[in-house]
């Protein structure tokens, strides 16, 4: 580890020794600045709650869904309860009437098939009307009497009628088929009703929670003693239901039995369809709360289309700031719930709650989708900023690199064009001055002098042959007076040639000409003039 650390340090030291290009360095500064600003913005946005908006939004949507669902469900169950209370009242009156007509007490109807058949014939239209008018899929009446008390299971066997819709495919079927689930089969034949595939003559009340207790309690008003059972499986069928139990109380307080309505899991599924929301599939649940769990196996679940929610599960409730988490063990759901008092009985202390929930996975996927958009937008912004920084740094460095290039090619003259950056110009001037001094120290001519010499030498091509001969005599050290003899020409001709030579070589006098010749000689460039 220590060795590795040393290696990294050595690498860092080496990198520091390496010179970095100005553009890259500038780019690095830009990128650092962009990242700092970018992170700060993201940080400030997250502090301001820009990224937790979805949770709040979900909370608001959930609240609204819950309120609507709760209102609908409470109305629905109130309607069924009212119809069932009315059924109880009418049944009580009819039974009393029939018993008085027959001149028997209620206890005497046990083991009397004819009387029970007669009572069922009287009760059938009332039960059927309740089924047809209440928003339910079944209606029933159970009398606290049995057709055969001698049977071994007579204690749990009770006579009554249970009518159910079969072949349901929606919550409000136009022409539903009524099947005869429980009751004396003669009535099914009379009314041309199909016997349920699992028809039984009597009810097994051990299958109906609290039914026995209700029948044997002393009760006054049915309206103060009704309750919804937890969901029970209808024996030997694929269906399960919740039953509303309302006592049938006679005028003297005798409980004749119970009656009420049925809501099956399938009917509830049709009545409370899944709602497709941007957060996921919103599912409605009505279930008892036990030990901080929503027990779906004892309640009803609306359509679960688009989710894996199983109606047999128990959901552990974890309260949250915006919404609750419901954990099945296999999957998590998020949502809200509210306690709804659908029962009103001292016998039953079940705490019922209505909940709406969406799969956490689909909410997470939705959030991920939003985040993905954020990430894409941020990445695009980052790319643009990086490209911008690249462009700016290159533009900033270009005059410097170009100047440098010119330095390298020794093109930087004192009168060179300005780079546009004062510091660069100053640097160039400074470097020029230093180079000039260096050259002078090494015996080089200042560049303008050299130019003058070059121009002077270049002009020699303007001279004629005669003028060039006369110039050569001067170079050789002859005076003007020597020229007529040497060149076999007159003095006036010499003077004329002299004027031309001065003019063409750009000098004003013989002294200036001789100064050039002397200087060229000193510079060792005199042969270029010849």
């Amino acid at each position: 580890m220590l060795k590795k650390l040393k290696e990294i340090r050595a690498l860092n030291a080496f990198a520091k020794k390496q010179s970095i290009g100005m553009q890259r360095k500038l780019m690095l500064y830009w990128v650092s600045m962009i990242l700092v600003v970018f992170s700060t913005v993201i940080f400030l946005l997250s502090i301001a709650g820009a990224f937790s908006q979805d949770d709040k939004q979900l909370h608001e949507v959930m609240k609204l869904y819950l309120k609507n669902t709760q209102d609908h469900l409470v109305d629905h169950f109130d309607n069924i309860t009212a119809k069932s209370l009315n059924l109880s009242k009418e049944l009580s009156r009819e039974i009393e009437l029939e018993l008085s007509k027959e001149g028997v007490d209620f206890d005497e109807i046990n083991d009397d098939p004819q009387l029970l058949l007669h009572l069922q014939e009287v009760m059938y239209p009332l039960v059927n009307t309740t089924l047809q008018t209440a928003d339910c899929n079944g209606a029933y009446v159970i009398l606290n009497a049995t057709i055969n008390t001698a049977l071994s299971d007579a204690v749990n066997s009770r006579s009554g009628i249970h009518l159910r819709y079969s072949n349901l495919s929606s919550s409000s079927p136009v022409s539903p088929t009524v099947v005869y689930f429980r009751g004396i089969s003669d009535i099914a034949l009379q009314k041309n009703l199909e016997l349920h595939n699992r028809w039984n003559l009597e009810f097994d009340i051990s299958q109906i929670p609290l039914c026995f207790e209700m029948m044997n309690a002393t009760l006054d008003r049915p309206a103060e003693n009704y309750y919804w059972t937890k969901r029970i499986n209808l024996k030997d069928t694929w269906e399960s239901s919740m039953l509303l139990s309302v006592p049938i109380v006679s005028s003297d307080g005798t409980v004749y039995g119970v009656c009420g309505a049925e809501i099956s899991a399938l009917y509830f599924q049709f009545s409370y369809p899944m709602v497709e929301d941007k957060f996921g599939s919103v599912v409605t649940v009505l279930a008892p709360i036990e030990d901080n769990r929503l027990v779906l196996a004892k309640g009803l679940v609306g359509s679960v289309s688009g989710t894996y929610l199983d109606s047999q599960e128990s959901l552990v409730i974890h309260q949250g700031r915006y919404f609750n988490e419901y954990d099945t063990g296999n999957g998590k759901y998020i949502g809200l719930h509210k306690i709804v008092p659908i029962s009103n009985s001292e016998l039953d202390d079940t705490v019922w709650a209505v909940a709406i929930m969406v799969p956490q996975d689909s909410y997470v996927a939705y959030i991920a989708d939003i985040k993905q958009n954020w990430i894409i937008a941020a990445m695009i912004l980052l790319c643009i900023l990086l490209a911008f920084s690249f462009f700016l740094s290159r533009r900033f460095v270009r005059p410097i690199t170009e100047s440098l290039k010119r330095f390298q090619q020794e093109e930087m003259l004192e009168q060179a064009m300005s780079s546009g950056i004062s510091e660069v110009d100053e640097l160039a001037e400074f470097l020029n001055a230093r180079a000039r001094n260096q050259r002078l120290e090494q015996g080089d001519l200042p560049p303008n002098i050299a130019d003058l010499f070059d121009q002077f030498i270049e002009r020699k091509h303007l001279l004629t042959t005669a003028e060039r001969n006369i110039l050569r005599y001067y170079i050789e050290g002859h005076e003007i007076a020597d020229i007529p003899d040497l060149a076999f020409i007159s003095m006036s001709t010499v003077r004329k040639h002299n004027r031309n030579i001065y003019e063409k070589l750009g000098v004003s006098s013989r002294d200036e000409l001789m100064l050039y010749i002397d200087l060229l000689r000193r510079c060792g460039r005199l042969n270029e003039l010849l």
Partner: protein, 454 residues
């Protein structure tokens, strides 16, 4: 140049990230497909259990959730499908899959709402299906009905009560092998039951109940080498009369159950003790009967091949609806076809059919899986059924009803009228102090003919 590479790399990363997120999102939401089926009626449905198994295994892997939104019977589904397809007020939304006989598809105004299974099943996959089953689902050269289970008509006998009756009267269970013998036995049963309560006159009990008397006459006529249909009319000829006579005689004497409902209902209350019904009705037969005083008696139900006419061919009705798929989105159709492929895989198919009294639909299932499944059956009721099934398979010719648009209405009209005519005949016979049997039978025959020829 380097920077350009970095930028391209960043863009690429962004695209890859977005792709990943999309995949994650799709995996979270299952494709839910709905089904209306008939397997199980109101009892524990074997198909529902299998669907649950599918949802927990293959469905979970592939993001498919199959939901049963109705377990019903084919006639109800027929009505619901037609109402939904015609967009009648109050009609339910069509599910992705529904159980159907060809009569439902033929009655659809536009069968283009259904998927041709050839689009989702390869030729190789379809080649393993039993060809006659596939042919039954072919409508206008399109495979609109996929067979998933097939049944036939079987005779079910409440052996417990029949044995008591046989002991007292000397009849034999073999008397039930022919229709003539069966109805004669029914007459004896009516006398026997009437005689058991001398203080209550005319309380003869029915011995026999048929789910569909329409099928009895239809298969009967064909087995006697005559046609039953003339286009969409019934032919009331010699064969029909030959089938009518023994039935009417037994019915007038009270030996035949003529009230509505399925055959299983009267067996449940000992209202009758012998039935001819779909093999799939095995699910609905209880192991006990309930009497009016709420006492119940444990019974043994045995199965025998369907009776035949003495001079007729061994012929029996092939039953068992198939599955239709409603056109929706490619994802839903694909999901539904994955489920159907899973359900018709030999192992699942045999598991499903043997719980429901059906036969599998592929050769592999028939040859490799079914014998093992039959051997493993621990219920005597089911073992007896499959023995009767194998006998039928071996010795009988299967009759497939013709594809007539008005088949269902014809069947319903006939079924209601024959029951009402025979019930009226029974009353006439009792009113005439149990005389004029042949005359009453003949009158009722003519009445039925007149009604059906209207």
């Amino acid at each position: 140049m380097k920077y350009r590479k970095i930028i391209i790399l960043l863009i690429f990363m962004v695209l890859v990230c977005s792709g990943c997120y999309d995949t994650i999102k799709n995996e979270e939401t299952p494709t839910t497909i709905t089904i209306w089926h008939v397997y199980g009626g109101q009892t524990d449905s074997p198909l529902n259990d299998l669907i649950e198994q599918f949802n927990q295994t293959v469905g979970k892997d592939k993001g498919i959730n199959v939901q049963v939104t109705s377990v019903s019977n084919t006639n109800t589904i027929h009505e619901l499908v037609l109402a939904a397809a015609n967009k009648e007020p109050g009609a339910s939304e069509l599910p992705d899959l529904f159980t159907s006989y060809p009569k439902t598809v033929l009655a659809l105004q536009d069968d283009d709402i259904l998927v041709d299974f050839k689009d989702y099943f390869s030729e190789e996959e379809l080649a393993d299906f039993i060809p006659t089953f596939i042919e039954e689902g072919m409508i206008d050269e399109r495979l609109l009905i996929l067979p998933i289970a097939k049944s036939t008509e079987i005779m079910f006998i409440n052996k417990t009560i029949f044995d008591r009756f046989a002991q007292d009267t000397g009849v034999s269970i073999d008397d039930l092998n022919t229709w003539e013998g069966l109805f004669k036995t029914a007459e004896i049963y009516a006398e026997w039951t009437d005689g058991q309560t001398p203080d209550i006159p005319e309380d003869a009990k029915a011995m026999f109940v048929h789910d569909y008397y329409f099928n009895y006459f239809q298969v009967g006529a064909r087995s006697l080498h005559e046609d039953f249909f003339d286009d969409d009319k019934i032919i009331f000829d010699t064969a029909f009369k030959q089938a009518w006579d023994p039935l009417a005689q037994a019915a007038l004497k009270g030996g035949v159950w003529l009230k509505g409902g399925y055959a299983t209902e009267s067996i449940r209350t000992a209202g009758s003790i012998v039935s001819v019904a779909s093999s799939a009705s095995i699910l609905y037969y209880s192991d006990f009967v309930t009497y009016p005083d709420n006492t119940s008696e444990e019974i043994t139900i045995i199965s025998r091949p369907c009776p035949i006419f003495e001079n007729g061919e061994k012929m029996v009705m092939q039953r068992g609806a198939g599955i239709c798929m409603v056109k929706s989105t490619p994802e839903r159709e694909e999901a539904a076809s994955i489920f159907l492929k899973w359900l018709t895989e030999p192992q699942q198919n045999v598991e499903f059919v043997t719980q429901g009294g059906y036969m599998p639909v592929t050769r592999t299932a028939f040859e490799d899986e079914l014998p093992k499944a039959i051997e493993a059956l621990d219920s005597e009721k089911y073992a007896s059924l499959y023995q009767a099934y194998l006998d039928t398979q071996k010795n009988y010719e299967f009759y497939v009803p013709p594809q007539i648009d008005t088949y269902l209405s014809l069947e319903t009209t006939f079924e209601n009228n024959i029951r009402s005519q025979l019930s009226s005949g029974r009353r006439d016979y009792l009113d005439a102090d149990q005389t004029n049997l042949e005359q009453i039978s003949s009158e009722r025959f003519q009445m039925l003919q007149q009604i059906m020829e209207r």
